[in-house]
Amino acid sequence: MTITAFPTEAVARAPRTFMQEVIEDTPGGNPRLEMCIQCGTCGGSCPSGPDMDYSPRRIFAMIEAGMREEVLRANTFWYCVSCYLCMVRCPQEVRITDIMYTLKRKAIREGYYRDSSASDAPDFSETFVDAVMKYGRSFELGLATRYHLRHHPLDAIKLAAGMGLNMLRRGRMDLTPRRINNLDQLHAIMDKAKEISQAERAQIGGGA
């Protein structure tokens, strides 16, 4: 006698929709993205909302519609200042800010951010993170000069002459980076974390 299994596995193997992908790759439990009722509380609350290509609300509608590329090319999440106003106001308790981070990761990983009008933002994040990886602490001068030299060379000079100098003068900026003692340990941890990330992505495809 053959037993017909209940086809749960078949369901599990179906390709993930963009919506599912975003939901599953957002840490900290279900971000409730599917619960969005398009009320616009997020877009209305967002301090940088007026400067976004699409309001967060619209981004969610586009995710639902599977407009993957358009979403990942948007500047919306790069203009997110992580103030969490939308998140505490959302009547459906969608974890909007956390979803913005997920979109940032995807946009960087898949290279779409270069098409965004906020294409500098990921570089800023990366430059910042590079310093942290290298020294274990952030390094403002290095960050400012390296990032600005790459993106706003003129600003960099202005910065060096203006704000940077003022910061240095007021004793508010280090000339050399500070390092933590056990850098080897940090590197080992971060390498392993990266490895886990990659394994995770390989397993589910396209995620995290």
Partner: protein, 674 residues
């Protein structure tokens, strides 16, 4: 080997069951394999519920002397009554029939025919094992007292009381405020017809107040409820009014002379004042005023007595010595129409209510545009004089929001449209409505929306993010700025206005849980009273003899509220006409010889059916109060409580039967240890 003679009937339900379950095979199997369990007849039939199908059972009962019947067909919620009645016709006690749901639980939810057939067999085995433990039961009969208690004197309660009273039966109408009328008395106009609320409500209030069959108990609250359907004893606290109703003529001189002005948080929604001796509004029913002891100078300092001094009646109507009275009334049925509370928008600080002067709640606005209200109907800003040039109306304040109330309050869209119309009509101001979805179902509602659109009211689809006085641009200075994403254009907008109206949610009464407990009815976590069935029994509750009407059951508008009040009254009248009521005999009872008096069960019953006899140290269950849930049966560590129709023996036997087979249909009974 069972001594009972069991008949098993397997329904094809056309092809609904037969297409998945091999019904013929099941019937043959039952006859052969369940003979030890007592099965003497097993048949399959196209439609068991048809009159021919029923006759089949009836004939078998007579011919084969069946003592138990198992019908494997659809859900018992559909046809249990049908088959019980059929058994009864053939002289078999209806409770000796058991249904097995092989349609809803087998053929409609499973696809593999073999496994489905196995499951159907196992379920029938469970039914057969169970049914032999059934007992013949007789319904309980209780007489119905023709008097009715209506709690809450809003429009729902008034309507219900009048319907019953007009039919010639006595009604007690209890209201905790000094007057009946409820929220509706505070409103100005009613949507969609724009009738004046007072014009249509006050005649009904007067009718209720003067009706020979209605005993009005205002300024009163229900203290406790004893008894059960048909025979409730209700204790009502009649709070001291300090005004003698037997002599007061309602002339109002005391109110005129009272020197104390008090902010009226209730009727005037904090927007107007009343005196320390007051009547909420001139048309109040009854007309007698009441003294507010918290603010009365005499009660605070022992001096003043202006009201008493100027009272023209003989003897004097003012009686400072009056005490709360407790009145016991006997009623057969109870209607709860306790209404709603308004959501407090101070809980959403970003809308600025309480901080920004010109943000108003919907109830404040009702008073503002009411001709009898504090501004005589002038729509003005908080300064009392300036007419607004622009007004924003925010929908869904505290509704459709998981952080506050996740339901739709139902009335706010129409109410906001009404406000928009009134503002437009009386001030000509620019009006903006901010909404998530426009909900204008029901008769003439959407037409009203059309009309308001025609009037040039602006509609912005977007839930308002915040209302602020923090101006950024010159045009915003001194205004209230409504920040919102206009979701149709996908951009953030900042719209400066002079006045903001918050369409606040309807919420359950703050003390709804206590009230529900007092009356022994179910209440959702939120605090709405739960009806017996959301669609098919919307005004009855799980507790026999108690009905709900109006917003106490859930947010609703005036037409629905009135309809529910009338519906509840109709249900009560039906009961009164029956004079006697038969109750389902699913009940728990204590076997006194087994009861050790441990009192574990004593706190199990929310219907207060469990009584402990201190003298004999045993527990007893009042069968008229028992609702048959079986919680005490499961709690008793001595198995001294049994539940009819769901006894431990019945369930244990059913478990045995269900586990006759494994999923593949192999016998497992013999594998189990002794």
């Amino acid at each position: 080997m069972s001594e009972e003679r069991v008949g098993v009937y397997v329904c094809h339900c056309g092809s609904n069951i037969a297409s998945v379950v091999n019904v013929e095979d099941v019937a043959v199997w039952a006859k052969e394999e369940l003979a030890d369990q007592g099965v003497v007849v097993a048949r399959d039939y196209k439609f068991m519920c048809s009159s021919l199908g029923q006759e089949l059972i009836q004939d078998d009962i007579k011919e084969h002397g069946l003592t138990r019947v198992v019908v494997a067909a659809c859900s018992p919620h559909l046809h249990e009554k049908t088959f019980r009645t059929a058994c009864n016709r053939a002289g078999l006690n209806p409770f000796l029939c058991e249904m097995v749901s092989v349609r809803e639980q087998v053929s409609w939810v499973h696809t593999d025919k073999e496994l489905a057939t196995n499951k159907a067999k196992a379920m029938i085995a469970g039914g057969v094992e169970r049914v032999v433990h059934h007992q013949p039961l007789e319904p309980l009969h209780v007489p119905i007292n023709p008097a009715t208690l209506v709690v809450g004197g809003g429009i729902a309660g008034i309507q219900a009381a009048l319907e019953i009273a007009d039919s010639g039966f006595p009604v007690y109408l209890v209201e905790r405020e000094p007057t009946i009328g409820g929220h509706m008395a505070q409103f100005d106009k009613t949507f969609p017809t724009l009738d004046c609320a007072a014009c249509i409500l006050t005649p009904k209030m007067v009718d209720a107040g003067a009706h020979p069959n209605i005993t009005l108990l205002t300024w009163s609250e229900v203290e406790r409820v004893d008894g059960f359907v048909g025979n409730f004893t209700v204790t009502v606290r009649k709070k001291a009014r300090y005004v003698r109703e037997d002599v007061c003529t309602g002339c109002g001189i005391c109110i005129e002379k009272c020197p104390v002005k008090v902010l009226d948080q209730n009727f005037e929604a904090g927007l107007g004042y009343r005196k320390a001796v007051y009547r909420p509004f001139p048309q109040a029913v009854p007309k007698y005023p009441v003294i507010d002891t918290e603010n009365c100078t005499y009660f605070k300092r022992g001096k003043c007595k202006a009201c008493q001094i100027f009272c023209p009646t003989q003897p004097n109507s003012i009686d400072f010595e009056q005490k709360d009275q407790f009145i016991q009334i006997q009623v057969g049925n109870i209607i709860l129409a306790t209404g709603y509370d308004l959501f407090d928008p101070r809980r959403i600080p970003q809308y600025g209510y309480g901080r920004l002067a010109n943000v108003f709640t919907s109830l404040e606005f009702e008073r503002l545009c009411n001709a009898a209200g504090p501004t005589n109907g002038d729509i003005v800003l908080r300064d009392g004089v300036t007419k607004p040039k622009s007004v924003g109306i925010i929908h869904c304040v505290g509704s459709r929001d998981r952080r506050y109330n996740n339901y739709c309050s139902g009335i706010c869209c129409m109410q906001s449209l009404k406000f928009a119309h009134l503002v437009k009509e009386r001030t000509g101001a620019d009006v903006y409505n901010f909404y998530i979805d426009m909900r204008t179902a029901y008769k003439d509602y959407d037409e009203f929306y059309q009309k308001v659109l025609e009037e040039g009211v602006h509609f912005v689809r977007g839930r308002v993010a915040e209302v602020t006085d923090a101006a950024r641009k010159p045009g915003e200075e001194g205004k209230l700025i409504i920040q919102v994403e206009d979701t149709f254009i996908g951009k953030q907008r900042r719209i400066p206005v002079d006045m903001v109206i918050l369409s606040a949610a309807l919420q359950p009464r703050a003390d709804a849980n206590e009230v529900a407990q007092k009356f022994g009815i179910a209440c959702s976590t939120k605090g709405w009273f739960i009806e017996k069935h959301p669609k098919l029994d919307p005004v009855a509750t799980m507790t026999e003899g108690i009905y709900v009407a109006g917003c106490a059951q859930g947010p609703k508008d005036i037409p629905s509220t009135v309809a529910q009040g009338a519906a509840a009254a109709a249900r009560v009248l039906g009961r009164i006409q029956m004079q006697e009521l038969a109750l389902e005999p699913i009940r728990a009872s204590v076997i006194e010889e087994k009861c050790s008096g441990c009192r574990i069960c004593n706190d199990m019953c929310p219907f207060n059916a469990i009584i402990f006899h201190e003298d004999r140290m045993v527990t007893e269950i009042n069968p008229a109060l028992c609702q048959g849930c079986g919680t005490c049966v499961a709690a008793c560590p001595s198995n001294a409580i049994t539940g009819t129709q769901f006894s431990t023996e019945q369930i244990m036997a059913q478990i045995e039967g269900l586990l006759m087979f494994n999923v593949e249909g192999e016998l497992i009974r013999e594998m189990a240890y002794a």
